[in-house]
Structure formats: structure tokens, C-alpha cells
């Protein structure tokens, strides 16, 4: 049996999700035993146009990157969006809150009109091509990555949690961060991270995106209880691919 061929591509991002693959440490050797990684620019020099599974990291911010992504989609049997930039645009979508010409001038001043500095509205991968699977998180969790890839190689559909971070946080017995006056997004954000941030005393800031059908009424109750309103919560949600109303 020939091994499935995996190719990993990066667009606008910090490459922190690729780093999580490296961070599998010894387990990466097990992955290499069952699949051929034919392209992965950050770690290997080999390159290939023939692959079965394409893993996409990063968000799409330029027209030429849309063309490159569509080309990859045509060649791949399965396409995976890896990490918050790919699954929902990630932190790069903060740019969409501003007028893009003004953004360019802010950073490049008098040189803003130089053609190679052009930029477009940030898009998640599924705003450009069809995505078969999403690996959530900023960065993604390496164990979840291994689980999803393993499932796909075995022909199974991976199961991703459809309940909020609060479930995992409560199960760990953490004190609620709302009691510490932190606007924690745990009630509406997808679990699967093991509530890592609240477990370290820092509020959930939504890097895995909204859970399917978030219980908005419950979230409102929490917000009411602490004398805030839903707008306060929204100011914290805007960091990761949420609705992009102007903030300034």
C-alpha cells in the first residue's frame, strides 16, 4: 500500500501551528512512518506538486494568495484548515476593522502606494475554497492535530467538541475567572483545548472560535450577573475572527 502524501502550506500567519507539528517531538517519527510528507517548507527542502492531503496554515490577505490556494485545492483530495488564521481569519482579521488604505499608511507612511505592499481584506480559508476539516486554536493543539490526522489516515471522521470551554474548565475544578473580574469567553467558545488559559489564571479569549449554537441566553445571564453588558463581552471577542465591526 502506498502511503498517503501530505503537503503543508503556509499563508499569512506566525507559523506557530507548524511549530506545534515539530513540537510533537518523538511522535513525529510515528507520523512519518505512516504518511509521506512531500512538502513542508519550514522544515524540509523537498517540494512536490503531487499530494493527497493539503494542510493550510494562515489566512488569505492578497489576490495572488487566493490563486495559489485555489491551485492547491484542485490538486488535493482532502484539504485541512489548520489553526485560527486558517479556520476563521485569526488575529489578521483585526485589520478589517480599519480602512485598508489607512492601515497601509499607518505602517508604511509615504511608501504605502508601492505595489508590493498591497493588501486586501483578510479571509479565512473557507471564504476562498471548500474546507474538509478544521483544526481549531491559536495555536492549534498538537494532540488534536495528531488525532485528526490519525483519524483521516484510518478513514474515520474525527469528533470535535461541540460544547463550550466552561465544561472543561469546571471539570478541572478551576475557580471561575468572572469572580476575579475577568471577562472570560468560556461560555461561548468551543472546547477541546482543556481550558488551558483559564487553568493558568488567564481568561479565555476565544482562539477556537464560537461553539456551534452558542447559548447566548446563558452568556447574557453571566454578563448581567456581573453588572456588564454584552458590548463589553464583544470587545474581547474581536481578537479572533469574530464579526468585524469597527472598534475605533
Amino acid at each position: 500500500m502506498t502511503k498517503p502524501r501530505i503537503a503543508i502550506f503556509d499563508f499569512a500567519c506566525c507559523e506557530g501551528c507548524q511549530l506545534q507539528i515539530v513540537n510533537l517531538e518523538e511522535d513525529i517519527l510515528s507520523l512519518l512512518a505512516v504518511a509521506d510528507v512531500v512538502e513542508w517548507r519550514e522544515a524540509i527542502s523537498d517540494q512536490s506538486d503531487e499530494y493527497d492531503i493539503a494542510i493550510i496554515e494562515g489566512s488569505i490577505t492578497r489576490p495572488e494568495d487566493e490563486t495559489r490556494l485555489k491551485d492547491i485545492r484542485e490538486k488535493a483530495k482532502v484539504l485541512i484548515a489548520m489553526g485560527a488564521c486558517a479556520t476563521m481569519g485569526g488575529v489578521n482579521k483585526l485589520k478589517n476593522n480599519f480602512d485598508l488604505n489607512e492601515v497601509k499608511e499607518c505602517v508604511y507612511a509615504d511608501d504605502a502606494e508601492m505595489p508590493h505592499l498591497n493588501t486586501a481584506m483578510t479571509k479565512a480559508v473557507d471564504e476562498v475554497v471548500t474546507v474538509d476539516f478544521k483544526i481549531h486554536g491559536c495555536p492549534m493543539d498538537k494532540a488534536e492535530f495528531a488525532y485528526i490526522v490519525r483519524s483521516l489516515l484510518l478513514g474515520k471522521t474525527p469528533e470535535i467538541p461541540e460544547y463550550p470551554v466552561c465544561v472543561e474548565c469546571k471539570a478541572k475544578g478551576n475557580p471561575c475567572l468572572w469572580e476575579d473580574e475577568q471577562l472570560c469567553l468560556g461560555p461561548v467558545i468551543r472546547a477541546g483545548c482543556g481550558a488551558r488559559c483559564p487553568s493558568s489564571g488567564f481568561r479565555c479569549f476565544g482562539c477556537r472560535g464560537y461553539v456551534d449554537n452558542p447559548n447566548v441566553d446563558a452568556a447574557k445571564e453571566v454578563v448581567d450577573k456581573y453588572g456588564l453588558d454584552i458590548e463589553d463581552l464583544k470587545t474581547k471577542m474581536v481578537l479572533f475572527g469574530s464579526t468585524q465591526e469597527p472598534t475605533v
Binding site: E15, G16, L32, A43, I44, G90, P139
Partner: protein
Amino acid sequence: MSTTLNINVKHVTRIEGHGNIVVNAKDGTIEKIQWQVPEAPRFFEAMVRGRSYEDIQIIVSRICGICSISHSLVATKAVEDAMGIEVSEQTDLIRLLLHYSEQLQSHVLHIGYLAVPDFFGATSVVPLVPVATDAVKTIIRAHRVANAWSDLIGGRTTHPVTIKPGGFSAIPTAQQFKELKDNLTEVMTDLGTIAEVVFSVADKVPQFERDTEYVSLQNPDRYSFYNGDIVSSDGHTAAVSDWQNVANEYVVEQSTAKWAKWHRDSYAVGALARFNNNADQLTDDAKAIAAKFGMEKGCCNPYMNTIAQLVESVHIVQTSIQIIDQLLTKGLTVEKVKTKPKAGKGNAAIEAPRGILFHQYEFDAKGNCVAADLCIPTNQNHANIQKDFEKLVPEIMDEGEDAVRQKLEMLVRAYDPCVSCSTHMLDVKFVR
């Protein structure tokens, strides 16, 4: 000479981010030599405007996956500078430990996975697994310990969450620090093994020198990664608050990342710069590694940056063991951190694994960011890489296209560039 070269490497592999190498020569005459950066810019300085001082480090850590801790730390220090927030000695020491964990992770990654495969003639670390199994496993083990160390203090391996203005949201227990110390003691042995492996191929490090200005932090108390003044190997000193007059960033057509220069056409930052400015402050074991590779202050071979990272790794682990002892002897205090926003402007500098990193922010009275200016190590190296190319290519062009391409790629890798960083971090006001 009749040498003709036509090198066009699109997206150099085994570096962080996207860079191209273009060299054209016809009948011995060089027509074009370029280090190009086509990475998609991300505009962080524009994006942080309007965000709370408490969220800045969470946003800017996303500039870079490999040096997210450096970005979080320097942003937090700049916020504290802007608002006059003081931190305890314990916080400074634990931050330094967290910072060291990233240096080790990044250095081991670069040495083991990105740079050294070239010395073995391999396209990556993967083909080395069957032929040098023990060496690869030693590198993986050291990398794993470094990551677990970041995770322990930062709350995550990448993109830490415990760092906040004024202190930490949570710190490890004394028992966890003791276990960390045990692991680091074992890593000292692993680093010795890695040094032997690198030494066995040290003759593959290309011999090339170009007199260069090296810029880094300097602190009289210790080999600095975390604080101090800005110094240059040309004998100049500047306060951190004056960093914009050091970097003097400007835009060039071949790059979406800005370039920098201080007293010459270009300068270099990173492990070799720190070594050249501060080698006297290394631990004795770190100095011994440098001596083993014949490395002395004033080294102007950019390929030796990888060796300087190895030297620093030894220094970092030894110093960290001392800091853990210091913390445990004094006893840990759980600090409750509460800060209030204040209008102001602040600067900070830190040594990221790839070199000196500057952040500046301005806040309104509510603590919302109104302006940011950030300057990344790799930005400061791009012009120097170009200048190295221009000296190196004429020296080696008779070796043929493949050898020239290989040595240029290795040169880029030696700088350990963080290209996605450098294009994401460009400044507001710059000098042309």
C-alpha cells in the same frame, strides 16, 4: 572568467517565513544579486490601535510562533514603561527563566532541524533519523524539555498566557521548579552531545568573513537577553528609549520587510552579535564550547551564528539552574496583580533568539492603544544579508551554480531569519 550563474530560489526552505534568492551573472560579470522578502505583510501596528493595554501582549505574540514569548515579554515591558508599573524581583527572575526557555527551544530548533542538516548534506532532519538516530533523539529530547519549560511558566508552549502587566497570572510551585532543575541538569549532558555532533561536521561551516557592525543589548550584571543599553561593536551606546535612532528603518523595493542601518550601510543582530559584544560574561562551560570551535570575540563569519547559538544554549541552561536555586532559596510568593491604566508612551527592548527586538506603544487615559511602533530582529538583518551576498558571490562564483546556491541558502539559514516576524512589524515613523 566565463562563469554564468542563473540562480532563482523562490521561498527558501527551512527558514521561518518566505524569502527569495536571485543571482544573475553572465560571462563572469554579476548583473544582479538580491535577497528578496515577498512575505505577506500583516500590519500589526495598525491592528493594535484601540485595543486595551491588557490585551496587547495577546495580540502581538501572534507576530511569531517561534518567538512568541519574546514578543509578549517586550510588549508587557513597554506597557509597564508607559504606565509606570513596577514589578517585583521575583517576577523579573521568573520572566527571565521563561525567556530562557524560548531561547533554548528556538536555538535547538535552528541548530538541529534547520541549519545542521546542510552540514550532513541532507535536505532535512528526516533522512538523518536512520543514520544518526541517537543524535536526532538527543536533539528532540532537548527540544521537548525546552518546550515543557515554556509550557510550565507560560501556561502554553507557544503564545504564553501567564504574562501580564505587573506580573504573572499564575506561577509554578516550588516542586515544579525543582523538577525543572532536574530536567535542565540532564539537558546540560544533551547539549554536550549535540556540541560533539556539530563539531564532527564543523569543517563544513563555510569560511567567509565580512567586517560587520554588531548590535545587541548589554548589561553590566549578566550576559543580557532581557535588559540593558543598546551597544554596537563599533563602540557606540544608546538608551533603549532612543531605539528609533539606532534602527533608522527604511523601505526598499525588493522587500515587504523594512531594512535598518546605524553607523554603516547595514548591521547584524542575533547570537553572534551578542557573543561579539558580551562574550566575557558567558559561563565558563559556554566559553569552553566557543573555544572548542575556535570562536573568539570579533568573529565576522556570519555562518558562525549557529555556533554562537550553541554556546548560548549552554550559558542559558547553566544560568537558569542558578536562578531556580535563587528563587527556591528565597521562597516563592504568590502575588496578586492588579493594575490601573494611565495615559503614556513607553519603550522596551529584549533579545529575541534572533536578536534585539524593540516595541513602543502609546496609550490614552483609558489604557487603549493609540499608536505602536515595532522593530524586529530580522528586519535589522535583511540589509546585512544583502551586503554579505554582495561580498560572497564574487568570492565563490567559480565554484559553480549549485555550490553558490547552496552557500547562499546556508547563509540565509545561518541568520535564522524570522521573516513572518519582520514583515509583520514595520514602523510608523522612519528615516529615509
